[in-house]
């Protein structure tokens, strides 16, 4: 037993090395944070609609599974994500709603007329307060809200095709079943 004591530092080193190796894996972002609002009711809001007409509110989304995407015309990663959103809206009938985060409405309209508009409705969050209520710390961010109005998932940064296939679509199927 006493002779095996030299294994203690070796095992400690292996444990640390495993930990570091896991933290260095390519799909892991150490800056990514879990949402403080996970499984809690989404913040209530009533904001003007980018397209004019009825304001967009949490109440107007109630009763359906909703994907809420914070974007801005000035946001470069949003452009990376945009083709995926277009495809999801067209092929998967994604219930996609947008929040134009700290953006001039004219700029939001212009970028959507250039690239296409995947959203069913867009709320104008000119001062970024709705973003703060959701805990947004960098656009794009995408939230999944269930039928009872609870936040079930947050994606930070542009949605990637594999994350959509692996996480977003299965979650939406599950939420729509229940």
């Amino acid at each position: 037993m006493r002779k095996l004591i030299f294994l203690v530092p070796v095992l400690a080193f292996l444990a640390l090395a495993t930990w570091f190796a896991l933290a260095l894996r390519p799909d892991h972002d150490p800056r990514e944070l879990p949402s403080a609002l996970l499984d809690k009711p989404a913040p209530d809001f009533v904001l003007p609609s980018l397209g004019g007409g009825e304001p967009v509110s949490l109440a107007s989304l109630h009763g359906q599974v909703v994907v809420l995407n914070f974007f801005a015309s000035w946001c470069v990663p949003c452009r990376v994500e945009h083709p995926i959103l277009m495809r999801l809206a067209a092929q998967e009938k994604l219930p996609l709603f947008g929040v134009a985060y700290k953006d001039k409405p004219d700029d939001s309209r212009r970028i959507l007329s250039q690239l296409g508009d995947p959203y069913r409705a867009i709320a104008v969050d000119a001062d970024g307060r709705l973003g703060i209520d959701f805990g947004v710390y960098g656009v794009p961010e995408t939230y999944v809200i269930d039928k009872s109005g609870r936040i079930r998932k947050r994606f930070v940064g542009p949605l990637a095709a594999d994350v959509v296939e692996r996480e977003l679509l299965p979650l939406l199927r599950e939420l729509n079943r229940s």
């Binding site: 800056r31 944070l33 403080a36 700290k102 970024g128 959701f134 805990g135 710390y137 960098g138």
Partner: protein, 157 residues
Amino acid sequence: MNIPGITAARALLLALALAFPAHAVEPAEKLANPALEARARQVSQGLRCLVCQNESIDESHADLAHDVRVLLRERITAGDTDAQATAYIVARYGEFVLLEPPMKRSTYLLWFSPVLLLAAAAAAVALAARHKSTPPAPPLDAAERQRLAQLLQESEP
């Protein structure tokens, strides 16, 4: 009057005078009431900027830090206590925004691990010391003394 030594001394004085602690609060953000402004500064120094993640929102020039500073001042002006204003931000961004983690069951390990490590190290050192200390050798008996003297004599030239 342009003696290099004096210019250098002036530059040094200027640098020292400008070396106040870095903060990013813009004049337009400041509250007119100095007591409320001081409280807002105090609270914002304890809140992490989530864009830079290792700066407080008081020091950060990130857009989000600016927004949260303004929001914080609104809450404090509206009558929030420091704790209520902090809780308002924590409810949205989680406890990660607190630069000093709160003392509670899930953070005991974090707070006490230095003490635990120190105790473990002290125990290891004590254990090692006890095993190493061998009793002093018994004095030589008569036969051994004689043999020693003999050996010493042999080695003399």
